[in-house]
Symmetry: C2
């Protein structure tokens, strides 16, 4: 168990990244307390932890103990921790908890966290929870839930401070100082007209540096980056990242202020987006999580492997065209995978760069031609270098100079094809509005396998 | 050229992500104005643009025009734009600019941006610029530069507000309202003792909601996540992300406050970290940029391809062990790449998940055993499914039932080996403190190629 002093001294250095659930005996102690129903001990343990660490603890517990811990803690359990869980674990817990516990827990949440938890539930559960909330609470959540999945409207916080332009800075400061029930944290006040249309915002630090008599309308600046509630969260993330935003107002179709997005919500989206590309390139579903079940993972990986099996069989049919040559010269069979493999890897390099540059919008129509030309040059250059190396290796191994020449020529051809395939396929898919991260791989591998085998065996059949 | 109205109406929707440099004729118009030395026109164009879009414009210009645009704009060019450039372009521009221009430009920068620009320069250039700054400016930058590369000390802003605990909230608010030269943006005031040791911080919104007579010492909360100036930026990024931080104080070895990190600096680090993993898995150097030269890229990709060539040659030697079998039965040569390729892809799936989960610390000693077991199960399951598919395909193609059985058995063996290699190699490398994203690929491919060829040809040699 953690020492009491942990909280008194601020956590410093990379060691503050230590997860208490990794401390030997910690999880066992919690399980023991759950089994014994020792609420006081559990309360002491959890009150020390950040919500993220509570989430880690929940994930480390046996599945049956997770909802039990929450029920035992009652109002001492902060539902914010549920937003930090893997989706699989979150849904499992929510389905096991009593409706009353969920309703009570939702009440204390920021609207964005409440929506994040609600949106994974099926409609019946969602409605049951919503119907147990007060009308204003329900209306705010329902409005967010009405926006499309993965939209800014789903991620935004609906708590914010919006004031008319004729208020003075002094009035505003007094209002903030005296009003109960303001948002828990905020970085600016928004200025809106009588119909709630957004004029702009005033950051708190500017508010503090402005004379009390000044009207908000005279100190407000229009936000250059206003988010539409229907905007896709990935587009919003790119804007935050690109313009280094800390927060941005969210407006509806009529330009009325409906919420605010802060960068801490967006960091998760940025992270997810990069991770989805990485997984897609590795042939894994973007939403695969470490806590997913065996069945889910086996099924989701199957479809990618099936595509690859089809590609490999196409390559195999190409090889079969040259059965006579292979029979005559078994060295061809020994060497042909080298040509194909080198092409596959060169293509993967180019494809990785292209897919990422498309995702970050660094690869654009204006520079596409230059990048294609450069990749082709790199492919040809490395093709020639590896051609020379392999010609020497093959001559040393088989003592047949011709065979070295054939593999060299095939290597140059396949590395040039790899470069072109690696860049043109993602570019084409992107133009066809297909995610190049997900779909490029199988095409690219098929091309380099087919070209590799065909070039090597074909040249050999002409030569010998 | 952009219409004047663009600025008046806030930019809304995904279209605010549009890059003016992609507007047809825009770059040409800028080039024309540079050639004509039309400073007024350039000033009008650039004053409309966010610093990020100025950076995009610089990248879209011919290399020779880039420094010229900056020299022409003089004090109207905001050097912050340089921080948004690819490193290659930034260094090229800085080397072409006169020292005086760089010195003048640096003066207006936040300390973190100045350090970011300075750190890429060689020592002579760095010293020349530093020696032209005022002593306090120089001292602040030098202090940051003395911290290791990629440390929190390099990324932090050295401008912040630090006050003693006996100050009242009213005093603090008046101080902020009346003092010139405070940081441009800030979200909190820090509370320090007489030796500048950090007590904690008070966010602005809390300051505004506290009675003027209250002492800072009574309203301050200790920061739970204090960053050491020497901490690696990736560790810091993980903490920001994990605990949803907006900003965090940075302290030196003695616990004295030396700077502040805000999440907008950290977003770039998070992005870079995910991108480095993605590139490493694709066999590309983490720092490869779209604007890098042909030479740089050809060289940096070469080493990875060389490793792959060695792996492919090892696999080829395994094939050579079975020359007699291949000669006797050419179908083996036609089919063997299918077994190897299917193993390679299954291993890549597992490796991708493992590498990412290690990077985000989701894969930990406490759950490693469960994940290994699950991956092995998935490998065996998909192995059996694909074994059955291939047995049928091979029987249909070659009419030899035995051959179908041999490829089926080899498939199961290789997919199990792929699963184990895909998870155990990253785990082992991580334990040996080698970055699994960079180093796993070649090992994993070698294993699946060698096991695939050896299992298929070996079983065939025993059977037939």
């Amino acid at each position: 168990m953690r020492e009491e002093t942990d909280l008194a001294t601020p956590l410093r250095g990379p060691e503050h990244d230590n997860d208490p659930s990794e401390t030997p005996g910690f999880v066992e102690a919690v399980v023991g307390a759950i089994d014994a129903g020792d609420v006081a001990a559990l309360r002491a343990i959890v009150s020390d932890l950040h919500e993220t660490d509570v989430a880690r603890l929940l994930e480390a517990l046996p599945a049956a103990d997770r909802p039990q811990l929450i029920e035992l803690l009652g109002s001492d359990f902060d539902f914010t921790a549920l937003t930090e869980l893997d989706e699989t674990v979150r849904v499992q817990i929510l389905e096991a908890l009593s409706t009353q516990t969920v309703v009570d827990g939702m009440r204390d949440l920021d609207s964005d966290d409440a929506v994040y938890i609600l949106e994974d539930l099926d409609d019946a559960d969602k409605q049951e929870i919503l119907s147990n909330l007060s009308i204003p609470e329900r209306a705010a959540l329902q409005r967010s839930l009405d926006y499309p999945e993965e939209s800014a409207g789903r991620r935004m916080q609906t708590e914010f401070i919006a004031l008319p332009p004729y208020w003075t800075v002094g009035q505003t400061l007094d209002y903030i100082g005296e009003t109960e029930g303001l948002p828990e944290t905020f970085f600016e006040v928004f200025v809106v007209d009588a119909t709630y249309r957004l004029n702009g915002s005033v950051p708190l630090d500017r508010l503090l540096r402005t004379k009390r008599g000044t009207k908000l309308g005279d100190v407000v600046t229009p936000d250059r980056h206003v988010v539409n509630a229907t905007d896709d969260q990935e587009d919003v993330a790119r804007v935050f990242e690109r313009y280094n935003l800390i927060s941005a107002p969210v407006v509806d179709e009529a330009g009325r202020l409906v919420g605010v997005l802060t960068v801490d919500d967006i960091v998760d989206v940025i992270q997810e987006e990069a991770e989805e590309d990485l997984k897609a390139l590795g042939g894994v579903a973007g939403d695969e999580e470490l806590s997913d079940s065996f069945w889910y993972i086996a099924r989701s990986r199957f479809s990618w492997l099936l595509l690859n099996l089809i590609a490999a069989n196409i390559a195999s049919f190409v090889i079969a065209l040259f059965e006579n040559e292979l029979q005559r010269m078994v060295a061809l069979a020994v060497l042909m995978p080298i040509v194909a493999s080198q092409g596959g890897n060169a293509a993967t390099q180019t494809m990785t760069v292209a897919v990422r540059a498309l995702a970050t919008r660094e690869l654009r129509p204006s520079n596409a031609r230059r990048v294609i030309a450069r990749e082709l040059l790199v492919g040809l250059f490395n093709g020639v270098v590896f051609a020379v190396i392999m010609a020497v290796v093959v001559f040393a191994r088989f003592g047949v100079a011709d065979l070295g020449f054939v593999i060299a020529l095939a290597m140059v051809i396949n590395l040039a094809a790899a470069a072109l395939g690696g860049i043109l396929i993602p570019l084409t898919l992107d133009r066809l509005k297909v995610d190049p991260a997900v779909a490029s791989g199988p095409f690219v591998t098929t091309i380099t396998d087919v070209v590799g085998f065909f070039a090597f065996l074909g040249i050999a059949s002409l030569w010998f």
